[in-house]
C-alpha cells in the first residue's frame, strides 16, 4: 500500500476539488436526541465546514446510498394481453463518500460478497458500489461499538483512501489509482518514521477504548447447540418485532418485491423494498403458513443468519459490530448481550 501524510488544512482543498465536480455524501449533524446528544446522518454536503469529521456514529448506516429502501427495478407498459418490460439498473453518476468509518466499509465488503461475488451478481447494487469513491476516516470507539470483536475495526480494502488523524497531520492510506491522482493535486508528503510511529500509537490508543465486546469463539457451533435454548424465548418476549434493527443495520439486505399498477392499468412497476426478518410475515408462504410465527424465532433467525449462516458461507460474520441495532432498539436488545446470554445459557443448561 502507498501512504502519504497531509497537513490538516489540505483536506479542505481535497473536499473543494471533489465537490466542485461531483456529488459528495458525508457525515453531518442532524439534530439532538432527547438527552441532548448530537445525532449524525450521511447526507449530501456542499460545504466542508458542515462535514462532521469527528462524528461518533450515524443513526442510519450508509446503506441507503447503495441499497435504497425503495427502488424501481423495472417498469411495464401494458396493452390488453401483451406488455413490454423495461429493466433499469438505475446506474447513476459516480459519487464521493467523504468520511466513512471502518465498520461501514467492512459492511460494504460483506455485502459485496453476496451481492456481487456470488452467482447472479446484482447490477442494481454493483452500479452504485463501483461508482462510489470512498474516503474512510478513523474513529473513536463508542459505548455500543464492538467492531474489534468482529475483526472489523480496521478496513483492509473496499475504499479508495483512508484518513487517520495522527495529531498534527493526517495519515493517508491510498488504495486506488483514482485516489492517487486526486492526491497529486493537493500538497502531500511521504511519511517518515515518526509518522509511522504516530499512526501505530493512534491504533493502539483506539484499542484500549472499547467498552463492549462479543466472544465469537466457537460461536457457530454454540448457535447450533443452543438453537432450542429458552434464552431466545426471553429475548423474543422483549422484542417488539418492529424491524428497526434491520433498518439501521449496514449489512441487512433482505427485501420484498411488489408490483404496483397505474389506475388505468396501462403501466406497472416492479418495486424492491428493503425488508426485515423480524417482521411477522417475513416467511409466510401461500396458503398462510408462517415458518416463523413467533417473535423469538424471527429474532433468533436474524442472529443465526449473521453469526452462523453467513460465517459458514463466507468465513466471516455478517455483523460488523457497529452497535447501531442496539442503539436504536426500543426494547434495549443489543448484540453483545444476546450473544453473551446464549453462551451463558449453554453453561447453566448443564448440557
Amino acid at each position: 500500500m502507498i501512504f502519504r501524510v497531509i497537513e490538516k488544512a489540505e483536506l479542505r482543498s481535497l473536499f473543494t476539488m471533489l465537490s466542485a465536480a461531483n456529488r459528495v455524501i458525508g457525515p453531518v449533524g442532524v439534530g439532538l436526541d432527547r438527552s441532548g446528544r448530537q445525532l449524525y446522518g450521511f447526507e449530501e454536503v456542499h460545504d466542508f465546514d458542515r462535514v462532521a469529521l469527528d462524528y461518533t456514529m450515524t443513526s442510519l448506516s450508509a446503506k441507503k446510498y447503495f441499497l435504497p429502501y425503495r427502488e424501481i427495478m423495472a417498469t411495464f407498459t401494458m396493452d390488453n394481453k401483451d406488455w413490454q418490460k423495461r429493466i433499469d439498473y438505475n446506474i447513476d453518476a459516480p459519487f464521493v463518500f467523504f468520511g466513512m468509518h471502518a465498520c461501514d466499509i467492512n459492511a460494504l465488503n460483506r455485502l459485496d460478497k453476496v451481492l456481487m461475488g456470488s452467482v447472479y451478481p446484482m447490477p442494481y447494487y454493483a452500479a452504485k458500489r463501483k461508482n462510489a469513491f470512498i474516503i474512510g476516516i478513523g474513529c473513536e470507539p463508542q459505548p455500543n461499538c464492538f467492531c474489534r470483536s468482529m475483526g472489523t475495526d480496521t478496513a483492509l480494502h473496499g475504499f479508495d483512501m483512508f484518513i487517520t488523524d495522527i495529531g498534527d497531520r493526517y495519515f493517508i492510506e491510498i488504495q486506488s489509482d483514482t485516489a492517487f491522482n486526486f492526491l497529486k493535486k493537493i500538497r502531500t508528503g511521504e511519511p517518515v518514521e515518526a509518522d509511522h510511529l504516530s499512526f501505530m500509537k493512534t491504533g493502539a490508543g483506539k484499542n484500549e477504548k472499547f467498552a463492549a465486546s462479543v466472544d465469537t469463539t466457537d460461536l457457530t457451533k454454540i448457535l447450533d447447540m443452543e438453537f432450542q435454548s429458552e434464552v431466545w424465548k426471553q429475548w423474543g418476549d422483549k422484542c417488539l418485532g418492529c424491524g428497526t434493527c434491520a433498518n439501521v443495520c449496514p449489512t441487512c439486505y433482505c427485501y420484498s418485491v411488489e408490483e404496483e399498477v397505474s389506475i388505468d392499468l396501462t403501466a406497472a412497476a416492479k418495486v424492491k423494498k428493503l425488508y426485515s426478518c423480524n417482521l411477522i410475515d417475513f416467511a409466510v408462504v401461500a396458503g398462510g403458513h408462517n415458518f416463523r410465527p413467533e417473535r423469538h424465532s424471527r429474532l433468533k433467525y436474524r442472529y443465526y443468519h449473521k453469526h452462523r449462516g453467513f460465517v459458514e458461507a463466507y468465513e466471516e460474520s455478517l455483523c460488523v459490530g457497529c452497535g447501531r441495532c442496539g442503539e436504536a432498539c426500543l426494547a434495549d436488545i443489543t448484540v453483545p448481550e444476546v450473544i453473551a446470554s446464549v453462551r451463558e445459557g449453554r453453561k447453566t443448561d448443564g448440557q
Binding site: 461531483n22 423495472a74 401494458m78 406488455w83 447472479y120 454493483a126 439486505y253 408490483e259 433467525y301
Partner: protein, 299 residues
C-alpha cells in the same frame, strides 16, 4: 471538469462469474397456450417462450423452478412440471391460493407472461441409472414430481424397478388422472392412496406410509440398498416417509426432497427463502435428506 470521477459502467464489463451482470432480472416473454382444469383448485398451464431461439435455449433439469411474472400483479416461484426435453415450452400446475394465482385462474389463453430462470438445484437423475427408484408424492407434490416421472419414462431402460407412490386427502384432489395408464404402460408401478374415500372410491385408503409398509413387506433389504427415493410433498409427509425409508438402511443421501419457502428473487439475494444457514433458491429447492436433517427449521 477533469476532477470528475471516472464512470464505471458495470454492465459493460463481462462479469467473471457464471452469469453476467446484465442478465439480472432478464425476463423471457412467454404465452399461455393452453389452460387445463385439473381439480377445483389446480389448473395446468402450458406456457411457451415466444422467441423460438430463446425457447430452445431454456434448458432445465427435473426439480428446478422458474419465476413467473404477471406485470402489475406479481412474481412467484413455480416448479416446472413438464419434461426437460420440451425446454422452453413448459407446463406449470398451479393451485389457486392468493393474489397472483387467483388472477392466473381467470386469465385467457394467449395472455403474455414473464418467465425468469430456471433456478435451483435438481434431482440427480444420472446418478440413479441402474437403480430402483421410488417416486413419492403427497398432494400438490405431484406437480414437481411429474418432471422426474417423465424423465424416467423417456429413459425407462436406464432404471430398474420404478415405483410411483401418490397420496391425497380425497379422490377429488387427484392430479393428472389422465396420465396414470400411460405411466403404468411404461412399466412404472403406480400406487395411489387417499385419506378420505368417497362412495365411488375403489382403491387404497389411508396414509401414504401404508403403501410404503406394503413395499417393505414385499421387497428384501438388498432392494433398498440399490434404491433412490424422490419425495415431494408437505414437510410432515416427507419427514415420516424419509425416516421410514432410513429404517431400511436407505442412505439419507439417496433420498431427495424439495423444500418450499417464500421467494422474491430466486437468485440468493432477497433472503426470504433462508433455511438454516442457506438459501432454498440456491442450495435447493432439491436437497438430499441428510442436508435437510442438518438445516435448522427445515422440517
Amino acid at each position: 471538469m477533469d476532477n470528475k470521477l471516472p464512470f464505471n459502467d458495470v454492465i459493460d464489463q463481462r462479469h467473471h462469474r457464471r452469469s453476467d451482470l446484465s442478465s439480472f432480472e432478464y425476463t423471457h416473454k412467454a404465452e399461455i397456450t393452453s389452460i387445463h382444469k385439473l381439480t377445483e383448485q389446480e389448473n395446468l398451464y402450458r406456457i411457451q417462450i415466444i422467441d423460438p431461439a430463446e425457447r430452445e435455449r431454456f434448458e432445465f433439469r427435473p426439480g428446478q423452478f422458474l419465476m413467473l411474472e404477471l406485470p402489475g400483479i406479481g412474481d412467484a416461484p413455480f416448479s416446472i412440471s413438464s419434461p426437460p426435453s420440451r425446454k422452453g415450452d413448459v407446463e406449470l400446475c398451479i393451485r389457486k391460493v392468493g393474489g397472483l394465482t387467483s388472477f392466473l385462474s381467470r386469465v385467457e389463453r394467449g395472455t403474455h407472461v414473464g418467465i425468469r430462470g430456471p433456478f435451483g438445484t435438481s434431482f440427480p437423475m444420472e446418478k440413479m441409472y441402474g437403480q430402483n427408484i421410488m417416486l413419492i408424492a403427497g398432494g400438490l407434490g405431484l406437480a414437481p414430481l411429474r418432471t422426474p416421472i417423465s424423465y424416467v419414462q423417456e429413459n425407462r431402460s436406464r432404471f430398474n424397478n420404478v415405483d410411483i407412490i401418490y397420496g391425497t386427502k380425497d379422490p377429488l384432489q387427484l392430479l393428472f388422472t389422465y396420465q396414470y395408464d400411460m405411466w403404468r404402460a411404461d412399466d412404472m408401478r403406480l400406487s395411489i392412496i387417499v385419506e378420505k374415500p368417497d362412495a365411488s372410491w375403489q382403491g387404497r385408503t389411508g396414509m401414504i406410509t401404508r403403501v410404503i409398509e406394503e413395499i417393505f413387506e414385499e421387497r428384501d433389504d438388498a432392494f433398498f440398498r440399490n434404491t433412490y427415493a424422490i419425495v415431494c410433498g408437505p414437510p410432515i409427509m416427507f419427514k415420516f416417509v424419509c425416516s421410514m425409508l432410513n429404517q431400511k438402511d436407505l442412505p439419507m443421501q439417496k433420498m431427495f426432497v424439495s423444500l418450499e419457502r417464500r421467494m422474491h428473487c430466486g437468485m440468493g439475494k432477497c433472503c426470504r427463502c433462508n433455511v438454516g444457514s442457506t438459501y432454498t433458491c440456491l442450495s435447493g429447492p432439491v436437497f438430499d435428506y441428510w442436508t435437510v436433517m442438518n438445516l435448522k427449521e427445515a422440517i
